[in-house]
């Protein structure tokens, strides 16, 4: 590498970026080992669990499932059907229609024979005006709250006002659940409800979750379209390589919105879901950690490896970028908001490892990625780097990612044996191409998200739901 000051500078920039990449991947490798251990422990635990008794005993803790829906006419019915079909001794399903502008409420009224009732509820959380509360003639455990639009957090808070049980499970309207989802999620809680305040679990992705979940585990297909397959891999990496390890290390920092179980008194204590952030899930998890650690209280928040359901993924590049841009923004907002936790020993492993990990690998990553890209292109253009070396570096990064992805696939398959062998083979072959086929899209989304965070944009930018066959 030659070329005077510019060459020297570019060289150092490239070394810095490579160093960053190596360091973060080294951290990921360590996390994979921790995740593998956690996965094994949870698998053994699950194998010795008495699900039959748990599913029928009156001592199993009842759960209120709360679902916020905004313009979900295409997705909502299969989701609610799957929630009503949950194999659990006692649960209620509270659907909050958050001022939908489409036919969401009409679909619900027709499908579940809803009738309006005046219900006097506790107003623990202030929310936008509730227009009506509906009960189903067909399903006594289904309640639908129709309210003025106030965003997902506001809708979930309205659902919490209606919830009757000690644990609340927040779910997304575009996710179809396994009949055992609640049993799997609550199995840890019933052993120690005093300590376990929050639980999330592994979810997968599909274009039409209802159709995917209709296939039994072991034969469940993974969508053939590469865009969906790569999102599937993304989810696997996030849950198995990261969240499982965070859970074992005591800093599970994101109970995902699609399936998050919380003890209701904890939600009431921290003030419910916050409306001041773009998205509610990660912020709430940070807030609960912050509160409990600040007050020195004993608690646990877990991520479990059990596959509890399938959520809808974007079917086009435009929708994917809109979704990932929002995710980046909410991470930036949350990590910045809780900056007092960074490197603060008072917050234990959350302050010393979890929050800095997010800062380095999520918040700063877009800037480093952009710098690396510009520097590498400049270095090749100026003849400071031979194209062959550039390709060698790309290959190294691609296979590093592929190896980590293979770890996630292995952990998932050992845990649940959900997918067909040929689909697993296809995922493994797609993994090395992730860097050139999928990462550029995520790179662009993250750049946009970071830029919008800096501009203070907090709009939801919800992606338009995929077209699908009408529900039976």
């Amino acid at each position: 590498m030659t070329g005077g000051f510019t060459g020297e500078l570019l060289g150092w920039v490239v070394v810095f970026c490579l160093g960053y990449l190596l360091l973060t991947n080294l951290v990921y490798v360590v996390l994979v080992f921790v995740a593998a251990f956690e996965n094994g422990v949870r698998r053994d635990e699950s194998a010795s669990e008495d699900y039959d008794t748990l599913a029928t005993s009156r001592f199993t803790i009842p759960v209120s499932v709360v679902l916020a829906a905004y313009d979900e006419e295409t997705a909502i019915v299969p989701t609610i059907r799957s929630l009503l079909a949950l194999d659990y001794p006692e649960h209620e399903v509270i659907v909050v229609n958050d001022g939908s502008t489409d036919a969401t409420l009409d679909r619900l009224r027709e499908t579940f024979q809803l009738e309006p009732y005046e219900v006097f509820v506790r107003r623990v959380f202030q929310t936008e005006e509730v227009h009506a509360v509906y009960r189903s003639a067909e399903h006594p455990n289904l309640v639908v709250v129709d309210k003025a639009n106030g965003g997902k957090a506001d809708a979930l808070n309205a659902g919490l006002n209606v919830a009757r049980y000690r644990y609340v499970c927040g779910v997304d309207a575009d996710t179809v659940f396994d009949p055992d989802a609640l049993l799997k999620g609550m199995r840890r809680v019933v052993h120690d409800p005093a300590r376990i305040v929050g639980v999330t679990s592994h979810l997968t992705i599909a274009l039409d979750p209802g159709r995917t979940m209709a296939a039994p585990p072991g034969t469940r297909p993974i969508d053939r379209r590469p865009l969906v397959a790569y999102q599937h891999l993304d989810y696997l990496r996030a849950f198995f390589n990261n969240r499982l390890a965070w859970s074992r290390l005591g800093f599970m920092l994101c109970a995902v919105g699609a399936f998050q179980i919380w003890r209701r008194d904890v939600l009431e204590e921290v003030g419910g879901y916050s409306r001041t952030f773009t998205c509610e899930d990660i912020e709430l998890t940070f807030r609960v950690h912050e509160r409990f650690l600040r007050e020195g209280r004993d608690y646990e928040i877990h991520c479990l490896p059990d596959n509890v359901g399938t959520t809808e993924g974007p079917d086009s590049v435009r929708k994917l970028i809109a979704q990932r841009e929002r995710w980046q923004r909410v991470i930036d907002e949350t990590v910045w908001h809780f900056r007092r936790m960074w490197f603060n020993p008072r917050y234990g492993s959350v302050g010393l490892i979890g929050a800095p990990f997010y800062l380095v690998t999520e918040v700063l990553a877009p800037a480093v990625e952009l710098t690396a890209l510009v520097a590498l292109i400049a270095a090749v253009a100026l003849g400071l780097f031979q194209p062959g070396v550039f390709i060698l570096m790309l290959a190294a990064i691609a296979f590093m990612n592929a190896a980590l992805t293979a770890c996630a696939i292995l952990l998932d398959d050992v845990q649940s044996r959900t997918y067909r062998t040929r689909d697993l083979a296809r995922l493994l072959l797609l993994a090395p191409l992730d860097l050139v086929l999928y990462r550029p899209l995520i790179f662009w989304a993250r750049q946009k998200g970071s830029w919008r965070f800096l501009r203070g944009d907090k709009a939801w930018h919800k992606f338009e739901r995929n077209a699908r066959a009408p529900a039976a």
């Binding site: 010795s48 008794t53 001592f59 005046e118 009506a132 052993h191 190294a396 398959d413 090395p432």
Partner: protein, 340 residues
Amino acid sequence: MYWLVVRVAVVVLALSLTAWVALSLAILVGRVRYDRRRESPSRALGEREARRLVRRASRRSRTDRGAWRRIAALRRLARARHPAALRLLRAALGDRDSRISGAAVRALGDLGDEWAIDLLLKALREERAPRSRIAAQVERLAPIPGAALLPLLRDKDPVVRFWGATLLAPYPELGGASLVMLTQDPDPNVRAAAVETLGARSGDAAAGATLALLHDPIWFVRVHAARSAGRLLGADGGPSLVRLLSDSRWWVRTAAKDALRGIGPDSVSALLPMLVDADAFARNGAAEVLQDIGFVDHLALERPDSPLLERIYAAGGERMREAAEVRTGRRTRERKVRAA
């Protein structure tokens, strides 16, 4: 620096390529082997395997892996009803590792004979595993435990008395007098459990004890008493229950509403005076129950100009009227369609 970058890239590529290939093979081979194993029929427990499992189940485990192997061995022996299972489970119950004792509880539930029940009740007394999990296993074995539960009601430990009272729910013929006595227990959890269980029984003593607990100073005891009163007393409990509609605690008001809903149309006479109560909660609650049991719809359909209906709407608010109009409008349409 250039060559350093190149060397690092080559090393990383070599390592990660090897890892990717090795992991891919492990995944695919492991999956094929799993599918084959799953298809092979399960075997009966042979003598040699039983000896190996007994050895494994007797061994104290120092590692995580060892603990789970011991658990698997215990479960397999219990399922096969091996003669050594009970001895091994007794030892496992006393293990300091909560995973081992928890697994023993589950295996004892699978065994389900009198010895197993004795051990489960001992575990409940000594809290060898989360008590709710032990209780779930004991209840799963109903009606075998039956009379064996009665001594729990006289235990020194209030938590054991609580579980004793709770677990007697499926046995309406057992422990009636003791449960009535427990409604005066100094521990509020025991009082709550006793009155909850009494709710599925009958008799003057049970009714008197339940009514008395509707005035308990502890709110959650009143919640359980309200639920019981609805089931035990039916319409006779109405006048006492409606008083709880103005309780200071939301959960007590909710329990009272649930109980009154459960009583059904027989609760109407007790609810009507509450429509003009000075307390807003009582007025709202009474109107809500009248709506939920179908009384409002009945009036709206049959006597829409009734002053009583107006009184209910005045207590329940304008939205109650709107909701009732939507419901009754729909029913009227349905009737017309049927008539046509």
